[in-house]
Symmetry: D3
Subunit: 167 residues, 6 copies
């Protein structure tokens, strides 16, 4: 790689050789209050990437939820009951700690817009620097990009019809 007298670049970068026989496991963390078509889109599109995806419902005690932890868990289990590659779990504490306890190498997250991106960026970099767990991202399909659990809750709270937004 030389050009017009510019100094040649030596390339002594050390590359890790990775064995790809280990199972690829991802944790897909969230509140899922409730699970939306946006979540389902990300999970389905990530399935070809992983051997197992663990949908991990954070049981954050300080956050108020609209649906109970048990209701949320049952709904998701029901939804994916025919897919062996998907497991459903609840957890508290740090997501990275939960990943390690499950042997998961990756956190899976969806990105809808740049507000999402900037939020996820700091979390992902902290998880990697502090805990050594890396994150993988999929961008929402356009037709689901405006859907969030918080919009569903807002509609539900006011008695509106949110059936087009959830599975």
């Amino acid at each position: 790689m030389t050009r017009k007298g510019i100094k040649s670049v030596s390339l002594p970068y050390k590359i890790d050789i990775v064995s790809n026989t280990t199972k690829k496991i991802a944790v897909f963390p969230g509140s899922f209050d409730p699970i939306t078509l946006g979540h389902v889109d990300i999970i389905n599109r990530a399935l070809p990437l992983f051997d197992t995806i663990i949908i991990a419902i954070g049981s954050n005690a300080t956050k108020k939820h609209m649906w109970t932890l048990q209701d949320r868990k049952t709904a998701i289990e029901q939804l994916f009951k025919n897919n062996n590659a998907i497991k459903v779990a609840t957890y508290d504490g740090l997501t990275a700690t939960f990943c390690k306890s499950q042997g998961a190498q990756f956190i899976l997250r969806g990105l809808r817009n740049s507000t999402d991106f900037e939020y996820e960026q700091t979390i992902a970099q902290a998880n990697y620097k502090v805990n050594g767990i890396d994150s993988v991202f999929i961008i929402s399909s356009p037709e689901y990009g405006f859907i969030s659990s918080s919009i569903v809750r807002d509609i539900a709270r006011n008695g509106g019809d949110y059936s087009k937004l959830v599975p």
Copy 2:
């Protein structure tokens, strides 16, 4: 998932059952004029996800390059010569068409900031809607987030020292 009289949500969402025995192949497309530490960071962190990563150098005839296609290809091959999971190729035309020709299911891309995100979002959604090729994203490590080939070229063009930015 019922709550305070809000109508129960039926969950008849159809889930594809995916066989995970097929090889996972990703194309990592770019100009690589030149390859930077930012690129190498993304490739290394994506290695555990895929069986093969094809680094695909776009030979866009209408774009002016600082290093020749051959120089760029040789530099990358040299860099990853001890890693069987990585292949290097050149291509022209649409990235999605090249993916199909290689049996690759995914495009791999790095994200440095929200400007990157918004650009990649439209490309990724077009690739999926028009060509059925999905994209997977990894967020740059913080220390490489400011590095771009264009900054390297700018330093090189003015005779500066860019050795900390490239492998």
Copy 3:
């Protein structure tokens, strides 16, 4: 529209023919706690677009306000009392439901920066997909782009002078 042998594009897109004799009514929803020069800028600039603008004060019971609903309503009524095209109302529940009850076809919103844009984008798309109510946006005049009710409240709470920020 043909070019260099690229296939010609047929154009059978169905276009709705709209009768424009119906009154154009917009709802401008917000907390208005308090109304600022930024709000007034948007309302004044939107007046040429609509026959009626309904300034709709959301009486969200779960949110704490600095000024009472009645004080906010009186202040706005006072401000626009000489303009027949502007009505002031309070509402609770979904904004889209309120729009339908008023025969309003549009929600009117101002945009100050891209944080605003990304927030409004998801709300507007949900309102359209779920409720069929469309949204129209005006970008704040530069000199009012930094003004928000929350900055006014912050100054008021600390005994500062916010008189340059409100009408």
Copy 4:
């Protein structure tokens, strides 16, 4: 609007009284190289707002186009030939000057993401401050938000199938 001894706010803001009997005319400017489903979405959704929408094709001589000005004009005329509220024109020079020559009070633009927003914000504010022409925005429908003329041209240039992106 008084509260806890905070000084009362006087409200002597001057409000323009606007006669709404004048025709509402908007210019929808662009290169339309080519017109996409994204453009058509914005035009259709803006129709209820205006008496006339002038689709104005900028004939910027310094910009290279894929389709000729005449081809672009014919394609758009064909598309909207049954809708009297839509006119098609070409122009050069400043958009604001063209608006004035047509008696149009508004520029109409679509917004797809925050990159669009930031670009449009400076243009809109300049048009208003320098020329007194205001702009009205509609946010793209989610399913069209990734479509741009430049993506269509990229696919066309490489012989791909862009038929799902154009009318």
Copy 5:
């Protein structure tokens, strides 16, 4: 500045002549709950700009903190005890009012990403327009850009190791 018959630009702009013998004092405001390596990076890089930097810990009574005001103050004093150019103070009320009480001409803030930028922009413009206090910004070093007090608290709350994120 004339060109091709375009009208010549007269330049009668009035420029303030500033005496630069006054001490340059900046206030670096925040909650510092806790102080992070990100804060320390900004302070150190701003030292060459100012004669004095006052680290000002806001004692916002309505906000819940993890560390007490006294603990936060002691930690910061300890950290910078050998640097005479740095002072540590607590304050309540408006930051601009505190600046004036200290004879400080500037507010100093760090910027990590565009979410930060958009938040700081409105605050800075309000401080200048309402109170005449200007703000100066430094962009975080890449390796600290993901660190925030809120991420540290989240790790601390869950018993994780945050020692790489704080001084």
Copy 6:
């Protein structure tokens, strides 16, 4: 800084002791094609921070300009001729190299919106990592935030009146 049994944080961070008797010199680089009210706003507001501000006009040979380098230099010199703290220079090559040749410790830049921010962030981080020159930012006053040299050129090219945008 101890809390509820969470481990105490030792604070052995090394702080540089900086002598503040050296002259503070900033380079304000740009094309200034032409200088706008936005530039003048940033320069005036930065004057209290620095002993000298060098307005440095990049003479990038590959970029096409509307005004000649000499015209741009003369216009700026004329504008600031009564202010000893401001110098005007032209340069080519890297901005950081020019800063070193002038004994300048800082690059000064204005920020108008988050698009600006993301662009400046990568440049500033590269200048610091590669060349050891730090950057200081001021956010544009709201009323100048939409002004750019490129908008002025666009108006000038089309024979419009840009006198409100330049000094």
